[in-house]
Amino acid sequence: MKKFLSIGFVTGIIGQIIGTAVGIGLLAGIRALMGLAPKAEPAAVLGAALGIVGFMIGVGGFRDWFTWAKGEDTFEAEEFHDQPGIIRYWGYSLDHKVIGVQYGILSLLLMALGGTFALIFRAELAQTGMQFISLDFFNTLIGMHGMVLIISILLGISAMSNYLVPLLIGAKDMAFPRLNAFGFWLAVPASIVIVAAIFTGGFDTGWTGYPPLSARAPLGMQMFFVAVFFAGWSSIIGALNLIVTILRMRAQGMNMFRMPIFAWAVLATSLIALTATQLIGTSFQMVSFQRLFGMGFFDPAKGGNPLLFQHLFWFYSHPAVYVFILPGLGIISELLPVFVRKPLFGYKWVAMSSLGIALVGFMVWAHHMFTSGMEEYLRVPFMYSTLLVAVPTGIKFFSWTATIWQGRMRFATPMLFTLGAIIVFLLGGLTGPPLGTVATDLHLHDTYFVVGHFHDTLFGGYMFPLFAAIYFWYPKITGRRMNETLGKIHFYLMTPSFLVMTFGQMAVGLLGMRRRIADYDPAQGFQPTNFIVTIAAFLVALSILIFFINLFVSAKKGEVAKGNIWESRSPEWSILPSPAPEHNYAQPFNVVGDPYDYGLKGSKFVEIAPLQAVDQKARGTHG
Amino acid sequence: MDKNKPMSELRRGVMVFLALAILTAVEYVIGTNEAPTIFLWVIAIFKGALVLVYFMHIARLSGSEGGHE
């Protein structure tokens, strides 16, 4: 029992319970002292926020910083050692690889949860009429599906970048290991709070939380706001850490243009996450305060304007889409050369296109608002800036096809998912311009066409590359390979079902079926397509279930991975054993060539540094 | 940072402070009388630049040195 109580996760949960109770008690107490009747909403908000703080105290997130504030020193993160075995994934570890896996586990858990929400309401939509659930619960489910999966994706990106970036650039750890752990653990209580939204009345706005509806939705809305606010901070902290790591911790000789493409993609993503995330936090905070204190930002009766919310919200939420996809596109560029045995075509252009997408991404937000009643003169400029995104994205596609061209392809499971990602993301990209063009968007806005388009981009830009990355780097974590047969079943089941699903969604969308509706008139003729979409959605879920089984079984029973199983030039495969050891590279390496020169005779990317160069490492490696 | 002239840093602080104080006074006069707001923006940006450069030492970002280890 005592051992159980020393696990970081457990003490965190206890801290969250105490914090929540203190928050609720404090507000109830103050109101009682002032002679007022207790009020549920402020107490719940303060409880949720203090609960998250309580979790962070309980898990030990403030301990070292408090020591510093007292003027005492703590051990260096390089001297940190984990408890061996599986238990280390449950505590406050400072090792970037452990934190990466922790991120991954939480992300996959939320993915399963968010997917389950979708299955429930998809079952409801298979037929006209309401069969299983109430209208309110349906609304809550669609909002939860959106936001739980967004948080899952943010965590999944952090998982990939936390685990891979230090390995790829030859760092011992992240720049700020304590901040790194703090950022991860912040997401845990935030996830608990967002799930609590279901049990506190839910909310009926969908994931966007537009006022005026969100200003009078049930209490669950506030839980949603608090959770997103803290999950946003987790994302900001992670992004900050990644930027500093990439700028300051690279191996000797790795100048910016010898960095792996994935590091470029993470840099671009993190720049967006670092800055734009503040706007969704601020906008949600403003709605929350409107509900709590009657501050009328978005209340026309008080001179406010609900359109302001949409501007603030989309200033994050559109670039956020690029946060979701850029790391995935980086994974595609990273894996493709390994499996076609050819240099990546146009390295510099691909690296720059990530930054290009990130920068253009800041100037396109109002294309979500063509029908909102905003100033009409804004429509055309935003249409053009939106279509401009196709240019840097096109560069990536050009590079991929040119890389594949006349390559010697090997169809291992990671490669299958990489190819799937390219095709699905292409479909997502092609269905974008009809939505970014004002004339067609006026018809398509808020229909299932948007849903189909969005799932194409996110599966192509995130899910497929994520699966590719997991199949590819899994041996670095466990020392064993994932089962190829199950992996191939996963791919060949998921890809066609997924395509049927999104094509079906787009088909009903073109006919005018609104997204977020719980029921539709049988006379509209949507029913057969909706039925097929539901079946396809369940098949996608089945394939992901196979993936989960593979994930668990292979950890114990998979084939042992010896050496450089993919014949990759990347240092984590060519130097390190599997699983990767604590603190990564025992001896630093020098970068002496370009990362993707596969098939070029005598070309080298990294070589182990001679011993006397060890001192040089500390001075950093700008160049 | 120049350690041979220990007074120069302190004196520069005084100069920057005086500049900021004068600009704030100008701002107040412009704001309370009817003058174009563009001046207020220009002054605010100028004041912000002074703080960034002289108080926050933004230049230290580019060099790895910066007065102390």
Partner: protein, 189 residues
């Protein structure tokens, strides 16, 4: 391998890294205030809330003077004058508290509207509240470096905590440089 020279170099590099992190945090936090500034002009346009002009000038001056002493404190510790550092930091902290009392204690009380009275009130309380929250955290940081400074934990070679706290304080001042005209001066009542 671990000669004193290399550890010194290593630590200098580490502080450079921490500095990049701190500035990225400023960049991120600046977006919150930028969002509020944009909201103020989107919602209020060229109207400004009816506020006490004299009080506004006083709190602005207080914050400005505090920034002056903050800069002085940092210079003093970098030259090894621990006593002068402690005095300047103490003055900065006290001025910070005066600013908080001025805004939250007086301005919030004197304003002819509450947070729920129209969009002027909402914007005013949100902007000053968010800024005051940052001043409050700045005061906490100042208290920490003051306490450690009295204990003699900082030296000309080793005072990253002072630099970080000072930069944060200047950052909070920087925000007010834009918030003061936006709330008090720009537009007509």
């Amino acid at each position: 391998m671990n000669t004193p020279a290399t550890t010194l170099e290593k630590r200098a590099y580490k502080i450079g890294t921490a500095r990049v992190g701190l500035w990225l945090f400023f960049l991120s936090d600046a977006f919150v205030f930028a969002a509020l500034l944009v909201s103020r002009f989107y919602l209020l346009g060229d109207k400004r809330p009816h506020l006490e002009q004299g009080l506004g000038l006083i709190v602005t001056s207080v914050l400005l003077i505090s920034s002056f002493f903050m800069n002085r404190a940092e210079v003093q510790i970098s030259q090894g004058n621990r006593k002068a550092f402690v005095t300047s930091t103490l003055i900065t902290m006290l001025l910070g508290i005066v600013f908080l009392v001025g805004v939250v204690g007086f301005e919030w009380g004197l304003a002819p509207f509450g947070p729920a009275d129209g969009v002027e009130g909402a914007m005013f309380y949100m902007m000053t509240g968010m800024h005051a929250f940052h001043v409050l955290t700045g005061v906490v940081f100042l208290f920490i470096i003051l306490r450690n400074g009295i204990k003699g934990r900082y030296s000309p070679e080793k005072h990253w905590a002072v630099e970080a706290a000072a930069n944060y304080w200047h950052f909070v001042d920087l925000i007010w440089i834009f918030f003061y005209p936006a709330l008090y001066l720009i537009g007509t009542v």
